[in-house]
Amino acid sequence: MLILTCPYCGVKAEETELQPGGEAHLKRVGPAGSDDEFEDYMFARKNAKGVHFERWRHAYGCGKWFLAARDTATLQVYGTYSAQTPHPPARIVAAIRDVHPDWQPDWTETAGADAE
């Protein structure tokens, strides 16, 4: 049973205090999107074996949604961070690369991505 530290209140919470929310960093596709774009947003999920970004809510706590970077195979937690982040921040990427030096993000890293 996992332990994740809520980045909003610092509480080291166990899984029963949290609500899972599936894959993180999905980009909403609204009425202007094509069928393919919408299908991708609504249904296509990574189901990664290894590095994975996901949403959790500190439901039995401060109530905030946050994001976690986790390895689905080893269950190592690379870190948790604010839900108001378009991409995982640099410290998370660094923690992942400590373990997987060749790991490549699937977004374009920019200076702005470091902001938390």
Binding site: G30, P31, M42, K64, W65, L75, Q76, A83
Partner: protein
């Protein structure tokens, strides 16, 4: 008689107190043991070696072990609700008055008719059931399965409720050491030196593990260690606590036995510990392996360590003439201890030489030691009478014999690697020691990606972990089959799994039949599937399989180790969650009033809502009808407190609600109410309710009873994760307010009888508006909304005043026949009006357009959750099933969920369908059945008749009609 008393030795027995006799009953016989005895030692002290029957062949069984690995000596213990099957005699302390019942035998342990299976064993090989019962097919269900089910299962489940209390507790510890033997205590000392908190768990009541038995001076060493640890502030020592399983991120479950020994002292019997460990040290020791020789299952053949435990711990001699058979030095300890106890001993050693300290000591004591010798066969049926000796490397030709009544066997030791393995720790094959032990390179990983378990002592393969107490030993020689070249006749009598009757020949047969995977072989032969889960049999079985497959043991690998380490009673897992504490029951402030007034309850989520209030001899149906008519003709009240109430406030609240709801909520004027629909991003209807504009920047959103927390979470999700720059705050105020619906043509009259500041007239408070003030001195909001179609007000007051208002309304309306109504009357009345119900008309695949609710979908909005999804081709497909009403042709109620069939059949040969009933009731208002249904092209098919075949073969017919059955023009809304 080969087996002769006295069984209790004149001296010795470190755990017993000879001053206190303990009476107990075994299958009705009155016996006596001593305080400190285990059940096994007490029975052995009474000369009772026969303690059970094997599962498949009903062979006689005696204990072979002295600990948790015991596969044979299992009993039903206790009576009534405290009866427990499959209790191990070796780990259960004897208590005064205990009642032991033998298992898996009939009519008695001594004369078991099932033992006939043993004579038939040649026709019951591995896979017998699979092969035999497969044809003819119908026989399985009607003949074979009932018979097998009757004879399957070991022990009988108790039928009475367990009268004892159980509990659970959480602990957070830096280092947990599992095992209170010398390795565990030393590890605890090392961990405590680091300064963190240390918790040591020992599964038995006794600290020290094997050390006090195996090493002269061992007890003193243990006592010193315990004294040191007890003097440290950061160490907790917990006995009687068995670590059952290790899970992700250092989550360790353990069971503490608190009152197993005294169930009547009023404290919980057992406690389930949920421990978060920074680091776990497994100091779980090792288990001795049996040797596979012919008839090694005859009662009296025991593990060498168990024989010496009986002598040292309990002063019990399992027999007077002991033959030790071994492939290692350690078993010589048993020979020495037995000789010290005055028993006749000889040693049979499969190795060519044995010159370690212990064998030398044995020879010095004039104990006969035969090298390069094995047992060809054990003599005796219900008890060991002797052994036939042979060349250990040969084919079993008799070279001599020894009369004896106990065989103490040792095939070496296997580290207990269960906890290490539960959460991903890998094993490595240690060839010199012939054992799997933890691979330190591949430990289980914690949240930080680092290993969070380490093994120590015998659990780590370090069998000689008692430091300077140890003596020089020579290596073990692997012996997987004794003698090495035994023919089939002997191999078919060599037991691997003693409880499930799996023999060397069975594993070999599985290999020949193509079961190359150890996991498949396990299931095919049932090797290791007994209550001991292979603790005794696993490694020997793997070795035999590897040999049969002609591959090295590590290539065969082990089966998966899964928790719990030893069986855990379900009551311990449930802990306090039983009876009233089984589940939280949510109660409205009027709950007790409903109960006093005879409410028949309906669970809605964790709430209990009155379904109806039967009076006198009324059944539920009659009560519902009465309640409906009372509302339609007069006035009734519904406890609507469970509805979700979410406050949404802020400069962007209107814009936010426009995204949440399909309707336009930003334009709702202050003072007005609007029925709103909420869809998931996938377009499907997920909740509905009345939205109230409270002020310029605040709205109150009502949700369904079950939806309150979910919808609040849904709103917060979008606010926090998508539109986090929007200025909106929400608050789930569901429990702050009690809410009462008062409905019926006389609703206003009743309400106006109470003093208050709110003008309730049609002009001042028209339909779909609200007002604030006080009613009967209680601060209240009144919403003029209706789910029944009648003149209706919903009144929200602070929860603490809810019951007061409810009672005031009932006082005020008594002469008008004011009637409390329940959820079913509400359901029927809304169906009479054609109003949908989330969960009845919707099932997660329904869009508002299916339900004729297109009017509630804003055409002006460029976006709302679900809008994009609803523009997909399948959502716009005109052949989607549409909501209609149904009139039953013959006056019978068409069952809820019934399917309307269409012409033709589908690829499975089933009738095609064209619709289904979503709600169906008898309407007391109209005195006829009414139903709502989703039907293909339904709204274009008014007047058509569709058919609903019933399981009975009958066909019910329904005519498609408008779903609004009552008061189509809505005149009754205004009273």
């Amino acid at each position: 008689m080969s087996h002769t008393p006295p069984f209790r030795l004149a001296r010795g027995g470190r755990l017993i107190d000879r001053a206190f006799q303990v009476p107990f009953r075994f299958d009705g016989r009155h016996l006596r043991g001593l305080q400190g005895d285990s059940l096994a030692s007490a029975l052995l002290a009474n000369g009772q070696m026969l303690m059970g029957r094997s599962f498949k062949y009903h062979r006689p069984r005696g204990p072979i072990a002295s600990g948790a690995e015991e596969p044979n000596a299992l009993f039903g213990l206790g009576q009534g609700g405290r009866f427990e099957p499959n209790q191990r005699a070796t780990t259960t302390a004897l208590l005064p008055g205990m009642m032991l019942r033998s298992q898996n035998c009939w009519p008695s342990l001594d004369a078991d008719i099932g033992a006939v299976n043993s004579w038939l064993s040649p026709i019951f090989p591995a896979g017998f059931y699979y092969k035999t019962f497969i044809h003819p097919r119908p026989f399985w269900k009607h003949v074979f399965e009932p018979i097998i089910r009757h004879s399957a299962g070991l022990g009988r489940a108790p039928t009475d409720p367990d009268p004892d209390r159980y509990e659970q507790a959480y602990a957070h510890v830096d280092t947990v050491v599992v095992g209170g033997g010398i390795a565990g205590l030393l590890a605890a000392q090392r961990a405590a030196d680091q300064g963190g908190s240390v918790l040591v768990l020992e599964q038995t009541a006794i600290w020290g593990g094997r050390t006090p038995v195996d090493h002269p001076g061992g007890q003193a060493r243990i006592d010193d260690l315990l004294a040191d640890l007890r003097g440290r502030g950061n160490v907790t020592l917990r006995r009687n606590t068995m670590a059952t399983g290790l899970y992700d991120h250092g989550y360790l479950l353990a069971r503490e036995a608190l009152a197993d020994h005294d169930p009547n002292q009023g404290i919980p019997r057992q406690r389930l510990w949920r421990i978060r460990a920074g680091h776990v040290v497994t100091a779980t020791g090792a288990l001795e392996r049996p040797l596979a020789f012919a008839c090694n299952d005859v009662p009296g053949v025991m593990l060498a360590s168990a024989v010496r435990d009986m002598i040292v711990d309990y002063g019990v001699a399992p027999g007077q003439r002991v033959v030790v058979v071994t492939n290692n030095d350690d078993a010589y300890r048993t020979a020495l201890i037995a000789a010290d106890a005055g028993l006749e001993v000889s040693v049979i050693d499969a190795r060519r030489t044995a010159d370690g300290d212990l064998p030398q000591a044995a020879r010095a004591r004039n104990i006969p030691v035969l090298m390069n010798t094995g047992i060809a066969k054990v003599k005796g049926g219900r008890h060991v009478e002797g052994v036939v000796l042979c060349d250990a490397e040969g084919e079993g030709k008799a070279t001599g014999g020894i009369d004896c009544d106990v065989v103490a066997m040792s095939g070496g030791w296997s580290p207990v690697v269960h906890l290490w393995s539960h959460c991903g720790g890998k094993l490595t094959w240690d060839e010199p020691q012939a054992m799997f032990r933890p691979n330190p390179e591949r430990p289980p990983l914690g949240a930080d990606g680092q290993g969070n378990v380490s093994a120590t002592g015998a659990a780590n393969g370090d069998l000689r972990c008692a430091g300077d107490l140890e003596r020089a030993e020579q290596p073990t020689m692997p012996v997987w089959c004794m003698p090495r070249n035994a023919p089939y006749k002997l191999r078919s009598k060599m037991w691997l799994d003693f409880q499930n009757d799996v023999k060397v020949s069975d594993v070999e047969l599985a290999a020949r039949e193509g079961y190359a995977s150890v996991e498949h072989t396990k299931r095919y032969t049932t090797l290791g599937m007994a209550t001991d889960q292979g603790k005794v049999s696993n490694i020997n079985g793997l070795a035999v399989l590897s040999k049969a497959l002609n591959q090295p043991i590590p290539q065969t690998g082990t089966t998966t180790f899964r928790p719990p380490y030893t069986p855990l009673t379900l009551a311990t897992i449930a802990a306090d969650a039983r009876g009233e504490a089984f589940q939280p029951l949510r109660k409205t402030p009027m709950h007790d009033w409903h109960a006093r007034n005879g409410a028949s309850w309906e669970p809605v989520g964790h709430w209990r809502r009155p379904y109806c209030y039967p009076k006198g001899g009324e059944d539920r149906h009659a009560a519902v009808n009465r309640e409906i008519l009372a509302v339609r003709r007069g006035v009734g009240t519904l406890d609507a407190s469970t509805l979700g109430k979410i406050l949404v406030k802020g400069p962007d609240a209107g814009r936010f609600l426009d995204m949440m709801y399909t309707n336009m909520m930003s334009t709702l004027p202050v003072g007005k109410c609007r029925y709103g629909l909420m869809c998931s991003e996938n377009g499907f209807l997920m909740d509905d309710g009345v939205v109230v504009r409270l002020t310029e920047d605040s709205w109150l959103c009502h949700t369904t009873t079950g939806g309150a927390d979910r919808i609040h979470g849904h709103m917060e999700d979008w606010l926090q994760c998508e539109w986090w720059d929007w200025q909106v705050y929400t608050a789930n105020l569901t429990e702050q307010y009690a809410q009462i619906a008062i409905a019926g043509p006389k609703a206003r009259e009743v309400l106006e009888r109470l003093p208050g500041s709110i003008d309730l007239s049609q002009d001042a408070l028209p339909f779909m508006t609200w007002a604030e003030g006080d009613i009967a001195g209680i601060p209240a909001r009144v919403y003029r909304i209706s789910f029944s179609g009648e003149l209706s007000y919903e009144i929200a007051v602070p929860t603490s005043r809810g019951l007061e208002l409810w009672e005031r309304l009932h006082e005020a309306g008594r002469d008008l026949g004011i009637t409390p109504y329940g959820t079913e009357a509400m359901h029927v009345m809304r169906a009479e009006k054609g109003f949908i119900m989330i969960g009845d008309e919707t099932d997660g695949t329904i869009i508002p357009q299916d339900l004729g609710l297109g009017w509630a979908i804003s055409k002006k909005k460029t976006d709302y959750l679900g809008k994009r999804a609803q523009s997909r081709s399948h959502m716009k497909d005109r052949s989607r099933w549409q909501l209609v009403g149904l009139e039953s042709l013959d006056g019978r109620v068409i069952p809820d969920g019934a399917y309307a069939v269409d012409e033709g059949v589908n690829p499975n040969g089933q009738r095609k369908t064209q619709g289904r009933v979503t709600s169906s009731y008898h309407s007391p208002t109209l005195d006829r059945p009414i139903a709502m249904a989703l039907v293909r092209h339904g709204t274009e098919r008014m007047g058509q008749v569709i058919e609903f075949p019933m399981p009975s073969g009958e066909v019910l017919k329904g005519r498609i009609c408008d779903p609004v059955f009552y008061d189509k023009e809505g005149a009754r809304l205004n009273g």
